[in-house]
Symmetry: C2
Subunit: 344 residues, 2 copies
């Protein structure tokens, strides 16, 4: 597995076989794969679903052409697979959610297609919904989850299930077993942090720090862990009062608050696992997301006794390739021709 994007140098491998799109709320990332799952090219646009001009399918078509038209010129007829908010009611075409427990078959069966102005067929991966008293939804994360699990020999051997965390604006935690997303929970941790920092009194005494203050972050996590029952509403004000009493420097307050929120998220996760008789410390656990944010979660998890969290790279592109393979959009070869270029 590689963290960087590489371009296959061998012309025999360079025939594009798939364009894959990770098209979320705020950005569009596009991947061009060769026939063996190696990345030929990637690009990113700020044209997330919320930024696509009003105008329905035509507007998405224009953005897609702008981003990937040259790839389509080079390989007419190449299949296209997209995941994320592009399949929401506000997206290009709605791909109705599939219910948990959800596996590859359900995602493939739930693919919807849209045909572009030049005649290209774009398949869109459905999101996943958990109904019940409090419903929960994901779009895009299901693809990352299967990308993290695809070709992971450690997890193939593990039949007891795995916990997957996807930190971010709307952090998700999913329980996956036997190839099925069994349940999941969304935590608005990232968006809440930004709202508290930018739009409440807590931000007024904060000063940006040159680099993450890991001690302040760990302190926030520990305070949250010690205040499981008191909860978030009762603890966040301490960001200010510790500052007022000269016990938390202005440039440490942001990381302290980040630790508080992530600590409360892990409190909730711990409690949910405990209800099922599982300890966070013993649970196989993968993290998917931004490197810096995943590093914070690794630190926070260690405060909860979980020291074996593993960060998975390239889960998105791996997941898109894997779903395309399962859907028959690309041929799942037994042996790759360019082994060193495969994403594994």
């Amino acid at each position: 597995m590689t963290n960087s994007t590489r371009t296959a140098p061998d012309a025999s491998c360079a025939a594009p076989s798939l364009i894959a799109l990770d098209w979320g709320t705020t950005s569009l990332r596009a991947y061009l794969f060769d026939a063996h799952g190696a990345l030929l090219d990637t690009r990113s646009r700020a044209a997330g679903v919320m930024h696509v001009p009003a105008g329905g399918a035509r507007a998405f078509d224009v953005v897609f052409e702008e981003a990937c038209g040259d790839w389509l010129d080079r390989a007419p007829g190449v299949p296209v697979l997209a995941a994320g908010m592009v399949g929401s009611a506000q997206g290009w075409r709605e791909a109705p959610y599939v219910q948990v427990p959800a596996g590859a078959d359900a995602l493939v069966a739930g693919l919807v297609t849209v045909t572009t102005s030049r005649g290209t067929t774009v398949s869109i991966v459905p999101g996943v919904i958990a109904t019940g008293e409090l419903p929960d939804v994901m779009r895009g994360e299901e693809t990352q989850i299967f990308g993290a699990l695809a070709n992971d020999p450690m997890l193939d051997a593990d039949r007891s299930g795995v916990l997957i965390g996807l930190p971010g604006t709307h952090a998700k935690w999913a329980w996956v077993k036997d190839g099925l997303i069994e349940r999941f929970q969304t935590f608005m941790t990232g968006e809440l942090f930004a709202a508290l920092r930018d739009h409440t009194i807590l931000g007024r005494t904060m000063r940006a720090s040159a680099s993450p203050d890991r001690a302040a972050f760990a302190r926030g996590v520990a305070v949250a862990r010690g205040a499981q029952r008191a909860g978030l509403l009762a603890t966040i004000f301490s960001t200010r009062t510790l500052g007022l009493t000269d016990r938390l420097a202005p440039d440490a307050q942001g990381d302290y608050l980040s630790g508080l929120l992530i600590g409360h998220e892990l409190n909730a996760l711990d409690a949910m696992l405990a209800e099922r008789g599982v300890a966070l410390a013993n649970q196989p656990l993968l993290l998917i997301g931004d490197d810096g944010l995943c590093a914070r979660y690794v630190d926070a998890l260690s405060v909860f006794g979980c020291t074996h969290a593993r960060v998975v790279a390239q889960a998105t592109e791996r997941g898109l390739w894997w779903i395309a393979s399962r859907a028959g959009l690309v041929r799942a070869d037994g042996e790759p021709v360019c082994a060193d270029q495969r994403i594994d």
Copy 2:
């Protein structure tokens, strides 16, 4: 006790004896009392501490003159007492916090004074601080708390302590016993609600409702109560997902979220009381604050089995008068001349 401000009609009572100021972050409220604690006049200005132009004491002096200059012309030498953020480091003059357990004697001993350009002495009530691992502070609420307790025959008889809730931007819950504020806790409930509504995805699907939707509010409270261990981060996203699944109308989402947050606040309060062996349902409980907000808390408390919460009106002006009396700024008469005008 009356909810409205009345002006004493009897000239024999009309000699001003005290100007009292409730000078907080966002507004200034001024009260003119006669010699017996009856209100002669009140007024309100948007000139909260955060709106007073930079310029230190002189700027506060100007605002005070604008608001109360005619009262001072009418009664030169009248004493002035102020409470709230006016005594903070960003205020007119800093009145250092007094420590819990804090009673009237400590507040009176902690008064600081500032002399205005016309020579008037303004006494400023100190705030209260609870130190410890997580410090907590109040400024202004201590005055409201003693105002709620002053002359309350029910509470004079109660030696077991009383729980006082002050809903708002930064809601406070205080435990008061034998005339002392023993401990208190700040919850950023109001400010968090505003930040979530105005600056996160939750607000995007909300539509204002013509009147409070009590059923949606109660539903939010009940959901929070059932998710004590999962906590706030795990439940607020349901505001969106219930909307997405057509189970919560756009104009009910604001009240539902309000119920969720207040429910989580009461979860925390319930847990804190339980640690001391006290049940929320059995605790004598007063509420101080905006009528509409207090009504929400009465509803929410009933979901927690507490049906005896009592809303106290005019706690601020009663508290200012009471502290002025204790400080000897006004004479605490045995018998009021104008009994019907007394605030009790």
